[in-house]
């Protein structure tokens, strides 16, 4: 556990020291503030535009963070010899993967708390009633990007940095349409039906974690459904992380 903690701390310090990270963080903060300009616009629902924009900015930050840093820490580390100094110590390879994941997850969480805090504050300033139902979509947004992070890290153990980002982004986009696959299967022939259903069960369903609108309208699914969604997200994340650890333990670091 100590090794995991140290590796997580090094990952966090290395990312926080990067100018790019700070620029992106500051940029998202500015975008959130700039969102106040459009807050008075009423597109049928008061403050809907500001609310949607805020969530989009937070999601955009997490997407950039997970793709760039998750890719850099694993695939980039493999490419530039970044694991040699770590693995020449009494450290197991799974500890490296888990340490990096924990570091990135904690940092992403801290950023989301800061940016989300600013967002909620701005919502309150814009006159939107701040209720507990606003925080549940934020929590599931975090879980969604942790799931993407485990996907990026698992892919990063086997392919180059560019391919990791490319395929992760591809799967992320496709994963938003996973829920449509049963509909496609119902209207297809036997072979296509089998393929569509296989993909439906195999690919992560990222769209299920989008609860922003439901949160605004206080129409969140019942707790049992939210619980199942959390279990699904954490379970999928765990499987991908284990897969990444298993792959990383066997990969040749040439």
């Amino acid at each position: 556990m100590n090794q995991v903690r140290i590796i997580a701390a090094v990952s966090i310090r290395d990312i926080v020291g990067r100018r790019l990270f700070l620029v992106v963080f500051a940029g998202i903060l500015l975008l959130l503030l700039a969102g106040l300009l459009v807050a008075p616009l009423d597109l049928g629902e008061p403050h809907k535009l500001f609310y949607d924009l805020g969530f989009s900015f937070l999601a955009f930050f997490l997407l950039l963070f997970v793709l760039l840093e998750g890719g850099r820490q694993v695939a980039g580390g493999r490419e530039n010899g970044g694991f040699y100094w770590l693995l020449a110590r009494p450290v197991r390879r799974w500890q490296v993967m888990v340490g990096i994941f924990v570091g990135l997850a904690l940092l992403a969480g801290a950023c989301l708390v800061l940016l989300g805090g600013v967002f909620v504050l701005l919502l309150a300033l814009a006159g939107v009633p701040v209720q507990a139902s606003l925080f549940i979509p934020l929590a599931f947004l975090y879980l969604k990007y942790l799931l993407l992070l485990s996907l990026v890290m698992a892919l990063g153990t086997g392919v180059s940095l560019f391919s990791t980002i490319f395929f992760s982004l591809g799967l992320f986009v496709i994963g938003h349409g996973t829920a449509m696959l049963p509909v496609v299967a119902a209207k297809s022939g036997a072979a296509a039906r089998f393929s569509a259903l296989a993909l439906y069960h195999l690919l992560p369903d990222f769209s299920a974690f989008q609860l922003a609108s439901a949160g605004l309208h206080q129409q969140l699914p019942p707790p049992a459904v939210l619980g199942k969604l959390a279990v699904y997200g954490l379970g999928y994340l765990g499987v991908l992380l284990c897969l990444g650890c298993w792959r990383f333990a066997r990969v040749d670091l040439d």
Binding site: N2, Q3, I6, I7, A9, V10, R13, D14, I15, V16, G17, R18, G77, N80, G81, G82, F83, Y84, W85, L86, L87, A88, R89, P90, V91, D252, L253, D254
Partner: protein, 251 residues
Amino acid sequence: MSVITFKEVTKIYYRDFWRRRPVKALDSFSLEVERGSCFAFLGLNGAGKSTAIRVLLGFTRPAGGYASILCPPDTAHPLTGVGFLAENIGLPFHVSPEFFLGSVGRLAGLTSSRAARRTAEILEFVGLSGVRGRVKDLSRGMRQRLGLAQALIHDPDLLILDEPFTGLDIAGRREIIDRLRELHRQGKTIFFSSHILEDVARLATRVGIIHQGRSLGVFGAEELGSRPDDFFLEKIGRMAAVPPGKDERLR
């Protein structure tokens, strides 16, 4: 007693994804390094030096044979008493050298206070005390010194250094050689690869030569003589391979 053993190690790389173009980086490579020696590992570019070191440390798996490090029986991990400097070490660029070394020390099993003390000592030892800023702000030579520092932070008995003089100027090379000599006098085993035969002659007690993935033997450092380049080229067959008059034609 051998502290490092390579036994019939074969490592094959494939040049394409479909594994159709195999290249033997190590071909039944065998070598033994005695405890307490300062062993230079020589070879041309692409001879297989770095691959052999990576196999030894478990970074990559061989297709055949084995490589092992002798460790004390009470150690939980085979690399507990090993310090390693890679040729292309990817240091975390955006942290300070002190934080980096402290973390490495704790990973190696030192307590926080001991790691902090060792960090100060080792920065002094490699000539980086007083350096401020982040790793990315350091020059190439300073990063190489930091790489050496991370290998030494936990006071290992065995040092494995892949091209430790890369990026150092003449004064820096001499200083690091003096430091490594000092460590060797303290009883450490040093296994290093280098292209710079002048440095090898100054530092090593034993010399092993690898060529095209095969071991060409182990020699006493005194056999390098006053012209180590000639000795090395003769051993890998390059002196004999150049027919008389070939130099003229090339010119």
